[in-house]
């Protein structure tokens, strides 16, 4: 009969049943209106004109090019952040040195920078009027309004994801396993790959999952550095915006539905990881 109860630990200190129902009801209604309806509206709008139109709007050359570019950018940005995340967490978590927490704050910095500002810093660096602009132009290297700029902006915005998952976990695990491996004669690399990496694999996967979702969905920063050149520097989120501004709503929602589907898959995998490996992730469960 207990549709809504409090956990036994808290049985003595809880609200009356009516209050509990009221709070639960308010929560569900609010979450439905604020979070679930926006998700639902994407799929409804995408399939408004039927399955054929949906498929057709995804199979245009521009849409396919956008999907390919998004995959390419992600395929560069995610491994780059895995390598950085592993290196940074090893050097920060396994050793004691001064200024460590300041360094962690610096790594977290990209999370508190507006995506648009993140795009702007690369324009000021590599753009035609930027610090390196004249040099790059003289050597015919284009970074802004080209794929390298999109990759750079994506790496910037996904920078902390892997490191901030691994650092607290590695700190909590300590150095005992590694020291044992070394004393048994394993080399540094072998110790890392057969002891440290397996110890943190689920947290690493968790970080990669979040990093991947953000990399594929990044919009503001990429919007500044890409120049919106169709078929060339247009990622999926940018393509959504262009289609929407052309009043091609079904196609815009069709491409958006792919990204929403990605978000749902990410949420499911993330929740599964949290349930299955809660012990290993709990220390690092920020957002």
């Amino acid at each position: 009969m207990q549709f809504i109860s409090t956990s036994p630990r808290l049985a003595n200190v809880s609200e009356p049943l009516t209050v509990r129902f009221l709070l639960l009801g308010l929560t569900l209604v609010y979450l439905l209106a604020m979070l679930v309806l926006p998700l639902g509206v994407i799929f409804v709008e995408a399939f408004r004109k039927g399955y054929e139109t949906y498929a057709a709007s995804l199979l245009t050359d521009d849409s396919i090019a956008a999907i390919q570019l998004t995959l390419l950018v992600t395929a560069i940005a995610v491994p780059a952040n895995i390598i950085f995340g592993l290196a940074a967490s090893w050097s920060i978590a396994k050793y004691q040195f001064k200024g460590k927490s300041f360094l962690i704050t610096l790594i977290d910095l990209p999370f508190s920078v507006s995506p648009v500002v993140a795009g702007l810093i690369y324009v000021l660096m590599f753009g035609a009027q930027g610090y390196l602009g004249p040099y790059l132009q003289a050597h015919h290297i284009q970074i802004i309004f080209a794929v390298p700029g999109v990759v750079l902006a994506t790496i910037f915005l996904t920078f902390p994801f892997v490191a901030r998952q691994l650092i607290p976990l590695m700190q909590a695990q300590g150095n005992d396993d590694e020291e044992a491996a070394l004393s048994l004669g394993a080399g540094g690399l072998r110790t890392f790959f057969s002891v440290t990496l397996p110890n943190v694999r689920w947290a690493l996967l968790y970080g990669v999952l979040l990093c991947n979702a953000r990399a594929m969905g990044e919009f503001g920063a990429v919007s500044i550095v890409s120049g919106h050149i169709r078929g060339k520097t247009n990622t999926m989120p940018l393509h959504v915006e262009i289609l929407y501004n052309e009043y091609n709503f079904v196609a815009a929602f069709a491409v958006a539905s792919l990204l929403a589907f990605l978000a749902l898959v990410t949420l499911c995998l993330k929740t599964a990881l949290e349930w299955r490996y809660s012990g290993e992730l709990a220390v690092s469960r920020g957002h």
Partner: protein, 285 residues
């Protein structure tokens, strides 16, 4: 390993693990290349404008209105989330009901959903013929292309920050404190108001600051529902993009520098608040 008085304390405690040099060196190199040098670039750019130019740019009414909307909207959005978030976190932590796992996962939707997709969805939802826009329009409330639309988008993206900050702290609170209050004759409401809320206040403020920081710089989820009318529903990040497209780099840089300084200030405040939260709840997360 024992340190005598005469030895200088080393910067790094010696360790038997190999590889510090190469991993630390690589991390610093990459951090500098991707994050620190480009970020520093914006301040040298802003500094090259000089004080009078910098402030005369920011005195432009259109820029002032945009900054007001971004900061004001973010404040209201974070405030709404600070009212709603505790209720949601309370229900998720304290009550057991069917489907709690799913409801808990749904909270992360604003994190997981790409901002452009969220923006598109909100615009469709609150359009005059949308699922929520139609009943609101009947009631005489116009959401799309108004500051209200901006506030709704900024509320949408901020909710998980408050809920996810509160949840672990709430889960860690000792029930004995509440039981003690109850045995001493406090009503449930008195216990919540006088015992729980003061203990949770620093955590709540941390969530507020995080939601506010995210909302100030938000772009993707806002621009579709806002309609971007100058002086009315135009946010600061969008104005940076507009100034860039006009090749007005000084104006774009000045707006960005103000926003960056604000983000760093908020980051500092969050760090102080988290220290306070640790002391007042004992939660070490």
């Amino acid at each position: 390993m024992s340190l005598t008085e005469h030895q200088r304390r080393p910067w790094r405690t010696p360790s038997v693990l190999p590889g510090f040099g190469v991993t630390f060196g690589f991390s610093m190199f990459w951090l500098g290349l991707i994050v620190l040098i480009p970020l520093a670039g914006i301040f040298t750019w802003a500094a090259s404008l000089g004080f009078s130019d910098f402030f005369s740019i920011l005195a432009d009414p259109r820029i002032l209105e945009a900054l007001k909307l971004s900061f004001g909207g973010a404040l209201i959005g974070a405030f709404v989330n600070t009212l709603v978030g505790p209720v949601v976190a309370w229900v998720l932590v304290r009550y057991e009901f069917y489907g709690r796992g799913i409801v808990d996962a749904v909270i992360d939707l604003p994190f997981a959903l790409p901002t452009a997709v969220a923006g598109l969805a909100l615009a469709a939802l609150y359009a005059p013929n949308g699922w929520l826009g139609a009943p609101l329009a009947d009631a005489g409330i116009k959401v799309i292309f108004t500051p209200l639309g901006v506030i709704i988008a900024l509320t949408f993206i901020g909710l998980p920050f408050v809920v996810r900050t509160l949840q672990p702290v709430l889960a860690d609170l000792e029930p004995e404190i509440e039981e003690a209050a109850a045995t001493l004759g406090a009503t449930r409401w008195q216990t919540i108001r006088k015992i729980l809320l003061p203990a949770l206040l620093p955590t709540l403020l941390t969530g507020f600051a995080l939601a506010f920081a995210r909302a100030v710089g938000e772009y993707g989820s806002v621009i579709f529902i806002a309609g971007n009318l100058p002086y009315k529903s135009e946010i600061a990040p969008l104005l940076i993009i507009i100034k860039l497209e006009e090749f007005n780099y000084p104006a774009a840089t000045a707006i960005a520098a103000i926003m960056l300084v604000m983000s760093f200030l908020i980051l500092l405040i969050v760090n102080l608040l988290q220290g306070w939260a640790r002391r007042s709840t004992g939660y070490a997360g």
